[in-house]
């Protein structure tokens, strides 16, 4: 059963684990212990459910994209509207869960990493709401290309620290957040934004994001009276995709596709390695130096991927494919034009895959696409690219 994973040491088969410096091992153990203690605690669940509903605005709709369905002339396409969450993406689902845990652990200082700024904004939002100090590490390159999100975080009271080491992008922001945690193990909680890193993060982030799949499953059952035929979601670190996929993994009739950015396709083009505390697929040289990535979407611009995705790939449970920048831009345009929804460039990779998938399927079949975020943040970038 896929739902039994990971094992108690955080392993998904040969993937995952806790490959971190010794200073951080007891810190991860403490988070694991707290998470296992509270995850099924009625008080914790009630509080989480309250914020999911009243602060984030859940449940998000499972929207039948009628025009897109007609456009591709194949399977029925449903969009799971995570773009309608407060702060504009699925990121807050995880942040609220982790911050409620941080509060129970008595932590006052929260650190986070961000690439495009979506997780950084979500973390800053949650910290503002719960009165926690928030420090966001962001690669210097991303600080420049996502100036608006930097200002949003600052408005929310967070301190944004530009990271000047290595490639100055998301990978380095995670390095720097982990270094900060090594220096402040007692009072600090690392609110990690994707299902990456050392145990318990891949499990915990997945669990908090699984609300996406749980809602989608019930909503689809209500409208169609059956399970969907396909799930499609973009996969960078992989938190929105694992959130959608998780409740369906043990439904053998549901086919699942993860779409990576071609320039950052750890699963499709990487090899097994160890990055940020987990054994997983990594884009690296033959001798094990981590490679820099390129994607039009900063949120997918990462050299690694959540270890559970590596396992699902090797087990053949999920098929991983790629979409390039051009595909993503056409996905961006088609959803904007046909449905009146401007998607995030990350989610546009998932939309792009529909062109290949939907027309091959019959009209009785259904696809659920995770629309992980809205595209306001990308409008400037797209305008430059489409000129």
């Amino acid at each position: 059963m896929f739902s039994d994973l990971p094992d108690k040491n955080g392993h998904f088969g040969e993937f995952g684990g806790r490959h971190v410096p010794e200073t951080l091992v007891p810190v991860h153990e403490a988070v694991t212990e707290a998470y296992l203690k509270y995850k099924d605690d009625a008080g914790f669940r009630d509080e989480l459910d309250y914020y999911l509903e009243h602060f984030i605005g859940r449940p998000t709709p499972l929207y039948f994209a009628e025009n897109l369905t007609a456009h591709f002339n194949g399977a029925k396409i449903y969009l799971k509207r995570e773009d309608l969450c407060h702060t504009g993406s699925h990121k807050l689902n995880n942040v609220i869960g982790q911050l409620l845990l941080a509060k129970r652990m008595g932590k006052k200082r929260v650190i986070a990493e961000t690439g495009a700024g979506q997780h950084g904004v979500a973390a800053a939002t949650g910290c503002a709401r719960f009165g926690l100090e928030c420090i966001v590490y962001m690669g210097e390159v991303d600080v420049k290309r996502q100036a608006l999100n930097v200002y949003r975080m600052q408005l929310l009271g967070a301190k944004v620290v530009p990271v000047t080491s290595g490639s100055r992008t998301l990978k380095d922001a995670i390095n720097e957040a982990m270094r900060d945690w090594m220096a402040h193990p007692d009072d600090t909680f690392y609110c990690l934004g994707s299902c990456v890193g050392a145990h318990p993060f891949p499990m915990m982030v997945r669990d908090f994001q699984s609300v996406i799949g749980k809602e989608a499953k019930a909503q689809h059952l209500e409208s169609e009276g059956k399970e969907p035929d396909y799930l499609v979601a973009c996969t960078g670190g992989g938190s929105n995709s694992i959130g959608l996929f998780n409740p369906f993994l043990d439904e053998p009739t549901v086919k699942i596709v993860g779409v990576e950015a071609e320039g950052a396709a750890s699963l499709c083009k990487g090899t097994i390695g160890i990055l940020h505390g987990a054994r997983t697929y990594v884009l690296q040289t033959k001798t094990g130096q981590i490679l820099n990535t390129h994607s039009i979407s900063a949120g997918l611009d990462y050299s690694g991927v959540g270890p559970e995705h590596s396992y699902l790939k090797d087990m053949g449970r999920v098929q991983y494919v790629t979409a390039n920048d051009k595909d993503a831009l056409s996905g961006f345009k088609v959803l904007s034009e046909k449905e009146g929804i401007i998607p995030a460039l990350e989610s546009s990779h998932a939309i792009a895959h529909l062109k290949k998938l939907a027309p091959k399927l019959s009209k009785e079949q259904t696809i659920i696409v995770c629309l992980s975020g809205r595209g306001d943040k990308d409008v400037d970038e797209v305008r430059k690219l489409l000129k």
Binding site: G17, P21, T23, P26, G288
Partner: protein, 293 residues
């Protein structure tokens, strides 16, 4: 001394190694020759362990520094293997990794360097390397090549003992595997780490990454006491020790000190003579603090 070294080694090795047919003369001699280096480093006097990144700024410079450090009083030389993302390191050592990577220095190159150096020196050499480099190189091959080149041990900062997985040493391998204890480690973890560690135990003096600190953490004495409850293996302290006064203070409690960033900082400025002088000054400070009883 050599017999003592062999017994010490066999006691410290994993059960698997102990099972190796001791009647095999070849292996016995092999054990002794290899293992005595780290053992002796701690048995004659308190050990000084300078750290540099191999290939920073060039392999030739590293080779010369190994000889010069030994002459200046180093007992073990720790070589960092260049890696793109050295998680536990501060800006000074990160920059050294970047400089070495610009020269495309790989693990294979560093093995060749040690092999060459072994013609001139018996100073113990240990590698500090990221687990990802081992993942790509192959764990079994790494140990075999360490043995062939004359590398005495490995330190893998992002690999706690419970993650030591596939490709465990499966030959009669004599390469030490040195694990780290941190200020956050509790008794149960210290026990596990101390028992897994061979050669010596690396005590991280303070929370945080490598780099100079104005003050020592004050936790070293207490941490050393804790480790001694579970193990009589030598304890070397690293992270944040950058000057002779700090080395002198630390060595009161420990069996060795590891100094990295302060030396690497001088290498970054191409002040190689100053780096060697710092090693000599650290030696003097350690000797003043008194020999190990």
């Amino acid at each position: 001394m050599i017999v003592k070294a062999a017994i010490f080694h066999l006691n410290n090795c994993r059960s698997r190694v102990r099972k190796i047919s001791i009647t095999s003369k070849y292996f016995m001699i092999y054990f002794i020759l290899n293992m005595k280096r780290i053992f002796e480093a701690f048995s004659n006097r308190k050990a000084l362990i300078p750290f540099i990144v191999a290939g920073d700024p060039s392999l030739a410079a590293t080779e010369k520094l190994i000889y010069d450090f030994e002459a200046a009083g180093a007992d073990i030389v720790e070589l960092g293997i260049p890696f793109s993302d050295p998680l536990a390191d501060g800006p000074v050592i990160q920059a050294a990794h970047q400089r070495a990577l610009k020269k495309n220095v790989s693990l294979k190159d560093v093995f060749a360097l040690v092999k060459k150096a072994r013609k001139k020196t018996e100073v113990p050499i240990v590698f500090m390397l990221a687990e990802n480099l081992i993942e790509k190189y192959g764990r079994a091959k790494l140990f075999t090549d360490c043995e062939k080149a004359g590398v005495d041990g490995i330190i893998v900062p992002d690999m706690p003992p419970e993650e030591v997985g596939k490709g465990k040493r499966d030959t009669g391998n004599v390469v030490n595997e040195i694990f780290l204890v941190a200020p956050t480690s509790d008794d149960e973890r210290i026990k596990r780490i101390a028992s897994a560690s061979t050669g010596f135990i690396y005590l991280v003096s303070t929370t945080g990454i490598t780099g100079k600190r104005l003050k020592l953490s004050g936790q070293v004495e207490e941490m050393v006491k804790k480790i001694r409850k579970f193990s009589n293996k030598p304890i070397a302290v690293g992270f944040g020790i950058s000057n002779p006064a700090q080395a002198k203070e630390t060595i009161k409690y420990a069996d060795g000190v590891i100094v990295g960033s302060a030396i690497v900082d001088l290498i970054a400025k191409k002040q190689f003579d100053q780096a060697v002088k710092l090693v000599a000054a650290l030696r003097k400070a350690i000797d003043q603090a008194g020999k190990r009883e």
